[in-house]
């Protein structure tokens, strides 16, 4: 087969495997990168080559691997640049002596234990072509690495960055990252100098000059790039090209100096300007192609060189177990003890230790360098790859055991909630929707109760290995929440901002609503109405499952709302809309029209029913009741909606086509009929929910008194929800 055909086929298979196994691992609460590493191993001789040797040989013929390797190395160069770009010296500021001690111990202890292990493994798994010093130093460096990107991602996902343990961990990991790569550069220089004509002192002197130039000259010169970025307000293609050229130049220099090209890429990333906007934009330009496309090629190439068959027999598996034991004892043990002795409780110290034990793909990078240099043998390479995979995969479950998410949530919810307050939760995904939702929340406040507003921005986790660590950002500084907070300040209203990363947005919205004892979840819809159905996705999930009132605002024009239409048909489904419309009418002195649609044969009945509700809800002046006889309530409402209303308030009902559906646009008829905004209201009936829960429990368990009622229902009832 032509080499290009083979290469295209290889890339397609690798990407498919990486995405599929990555997805599977994400389902198991593991970082995507662990799945991609595993996918690489599965494509190699350990699984594919073992199960289907002919297919493996056809897909990865030895003569084709050069192209794959070249692509993967280029990907690795840019990945290391991105890792360096993430390094921010601000991470180290103000962390105190504890962070210094912990970070140094977390490097030195595993390094020392790695060297001890080298005493045992050198005569068994190495050979005379490698000096003991090179072997021992390499083993030490390989044991002391921490995967900063994976660690940062886990901290972000678990919302640990703002905690003490998170802050110290990220500082230690940053120090580890720089130190481990520096040590490895020295080890590579030592190993290469023994086989090359260049003396070691020359390599080290050249490297020192290079580093001084990078820090003192290049770093300052790169400030120009930042200024240019600010003057243009964006990252131009010319600037991206300039950065790429600089990465290549730096990588070429370090390779020429006798250390590795990857150090040059990493060093350039580390000295790049750290302006958040610049870093964000540059990362966005490079990250997807690097992380999604090129990095899986590296994992696959690593997997092709990882042959679990080389670890055969009790003796070899004992060596593999020893590698895992020493790696964990050194990194987890060393970090935990240092953290306990300096600043943290046992629980926090354990969490820090297990986080530092995450090695991820950074270990694979080091091991690949070691294998290419001949410092480690193929069997030891396989053992260490298994160790990297295991230490990374065990991080999340052990962290959950040591420092459960429940504890983090509980500490976040330790806040007094006044029982007489009306609490509104505003999940915000786009900055532009924030002010409108806040105005709506204030318009929906019940009389005589103070409104407490929580603005929540949930950032979806991306599925790749890198993760931005914004050291300075607090919820109040969140870009998405900023317009809402500005509006709140203008209105003189206190809004409590919340911001964190989420794997499951609708579940987290429900959780926060529960923890904050919200009376109303008010959500926005900001996508083009004709582009996608309104009541689908997150909105639909929250509407279905929230144990509080939910309202969804499709904003078509800024409040104030002067004319409001409330289509009414059924008390069970429409009373919530009626109640919220009443509040708006009271708070904003708006004119409300209640369109009461009744079936022709039940007209007199219907009027009587609503009249009693009318008194019950105490509508202010300016409310008009309009009775319409029709078998088709939606059409009647659509006709009325064309009469120049500012807002239509409607319940979740089949009659109005507002029941959540993943497909179809029937419910959009009301929106398309007029230029008015739409407020879809779903009222939560705690008593009805309790009744159905009781009925369910009765059916399943004949001892209802033994079963405690759901907490949310109790919380809801104590708030006297409308």
């Amino acid at each position: 087969m032509h080499f290009l055909l083979t290469l295209i086929l290889q890339i397609a298979v690798i990407l498919l495997a990486a995405r599929a196994v990555g997805w599977l691992f994400r389902r198991l609460n593991q970082p995507q990168v662990v799945g991609e590493m595993a996918a690489g191993i599965l494509l190699g001789p350990s699984l594919l080559g073992w199960l289907a040797p002919a297919a493996s040989a056809a897909l990865f013929p030895p003569e084709s691997l050069g192209y794959l390797n070249t692509l993967s190395q280029v990907g690795l160069l840019f990945f290391m640049f991105l890792v360096g770009l993430e390094f921010d010296p601000r991470l180290l500021r103000g962390r105190g002596h504890a962070a210094v001690v912990i970070s140094h111990v977390s490097i030195v202890v595993p390094f020392f234990l790695g060297a001890v292990l080298a005493l045992f493994l050198y005569p068994r798994l190495s050979d005379g072509s490698v000096s003991f010093t090179g072997f021992a130093l390499f083993m030490g460096a390989a044991m002391s690495i921490t995967a900063f990107p994976v660690l940062a991602r886990i901290l972000t996902e678990r919302n640990l960055l703002q905690t003490r343990v998170g802050a110290i961990t990220i500082a230690c990991a940053a120090v580890d990252d720089i130190t481990a790569w520096t040590i490895l550069a020295v080890v590579v220089a030592i190993v290469r100098s023994s086989a090359a004509d260049t003396p070691l002192w020359l390599t080290l002197a050249g490297t020192s000059v290079y580093l001084v130039l990078m820090v003192l000259v290049v770093r300052r010169a790169l400030g120009w790039l930042e200024s240019f970025y600010h003057s243009r307000g964006r990252l131009t293609q010319d600037m991206v090209a300039a950065v790429l050229l600089l990465v290549l130049a730096s990588a070429w220099t370090t390779e020429w100096l006798g250390i590795h090209a990857l150090f040059g890429a990493f060093a350039l990333g580390a000295v790049m300007p750290k302006d958040p906007g610049f870093v964000h934009d540059l990362s966005e330009k490079l990250e997807d192609i690097t992380v999604v496309f090129l990095l899986p090629l590296f994992f696959a190439f690593t997997g092709l060189r990882t042959s679990i068959g080389l670890v055969s027999g009790t003796e070899m598996w004992m060596y593999a177990g020893l590698c895992l034991l020493v790696a964990t004892a050194g990194k987890f043990g060393g970090s935990t003890i240092a953290a306990r002795l300096t600043a943290l409780s046992w629980r926090e110290a354990g969490a820090l230790g297990i986080l530092m034990n995450t090695r991820g793909l950074m270990e694979l990078v080091i091991l690949t360098i070691g294998l290419e240099l001949g410092v480690i043998s193929p069997a030891l390479f396989t053992m260490m790859v298994l160790m990297a995979l295991t230490t990374t995969a065990m991080t999340t479950p052990i962290l959950e055991w040591l420092y459960p998410a429940r504890l983090i949530r509980e500490s976040a919810s330790r806040e007094d909630v006044e029982m007489h307050e009306h609490t509104v939760l505003l999940p915000i995904s786009l900055s532009s929707s924030g002010p409108g939702l806040l105005r709506a929340a204030l318009a929906l406040a019940p009389e005589g109760r103070q409104t407490r507003v929580y603005a929540l921005h949930l950032q979806r986790t991306s599925d790749h290995g890198l993760s931005r660590v914004d050291v300075a950002e607090l919820p109040a500084q969140n870009e998405v929440l900023r317009p809402l907070l500005a509006e709140a300040e203008a209105e003189g209203v206190e809004v409590r901002p919340l911001s964190f990363t989420s794997r499951n947005v609708d579940r987290d919205i429900l959780d926060v609503a529960h923890v904050k004892r919200a009376d109303l979840v008010l959500m926005g819809w900001h996508k083009p109405v004709l582009g996608r159905s309104i009541l689908s996705g997150t909105v639909a999930a929250v509407l279905r499952h929230a144990r509080v009132d939910v309202a969804v605002l499709v904003e078509r024009g800024a409040a104030p709302w002067r004319r409001i239409l409330v289509p009414y048909r059924n008390p069970t489904e429409d009373l919530g809309a009626l109640e919220l419309a009443r509040r708006i009418a009271t708070n904003r002195e708006a004119e409300v029209t209640i369109l009461h649609v009744v079936a022709p044969d039940r007209a007199s009945d219907g009027e009587g029913r609503l009249s009693s509700r009318w008194e019950e809800h105490a509508f202010p002046d300016g409310v008009r009741l309009k009775l319409v006889e029709s078998d088709k309530p939606l059409e009647a409402a659509v006709r009325e909606a064309r009469e120049g209303y500012d807002l239509i308030v409607v319940g979740v009902s089949r009659a109005w086509g507002t029941t959540p559906t993943p497909f179809g646009r029937r419910h959009e008829a009301l929106v398309r009929a007029s230029a008015a905004s739409l407020l879809v209201v779903r009222r939560y009936d705690a008593r009805a929910a309790a009744r159905s829960q009781d009925a369910l429990e009765d059916a399943l368990e004949p001892k209802p008194s033994a079963v405690a009622p759901p907490r949310q229902i109790l919380a809801g009832s104590t708030h006297g929800r409308t």
Partner: protein
Amino acid sequence: MRSMLLYLVLVGAPLLGLLGILQAGERIVPPRSVGGVWELDAESARRLAAPCLSLAFKKEPAELVVSQSGTHLRLTFADRSRSSLAVTLGGDSLTGELKLSERATCPGATVELRAQVIAGEGHDRMLGSLRRSMCPECPVTQFEAVRRPITLDR
């Protein structure tokens, strides 16, 4: 003061220990290096291609690739079946067993490998033999190979 003391104990002591380890490790004698590509001479390649071994090499010179992990070796003949066997290194001696492929005249048979590595001027040489297990009357196939200079990425 406490931090400094901790630092000295937790960082200083392992660093001193590391120096000791590096000193002590230099006295350890590692297994001899035999990894890399070995070129079989033409006569050896012809003998190995004969029945019943049937190691039909794809190119000349015929090659034998040794992947070394300490005393644990994997020898792969660069024949059409890429016949491979696990070998143990003891000093200068190599011993292992090769299960013949389906293409061999006597497929499935097991062949014993014994070889000796001899350090030479510039190039190491390997003198070896392959013999069917449990078959004293079967002929012994001798082979000789020369190690190609190592070109590691250094």
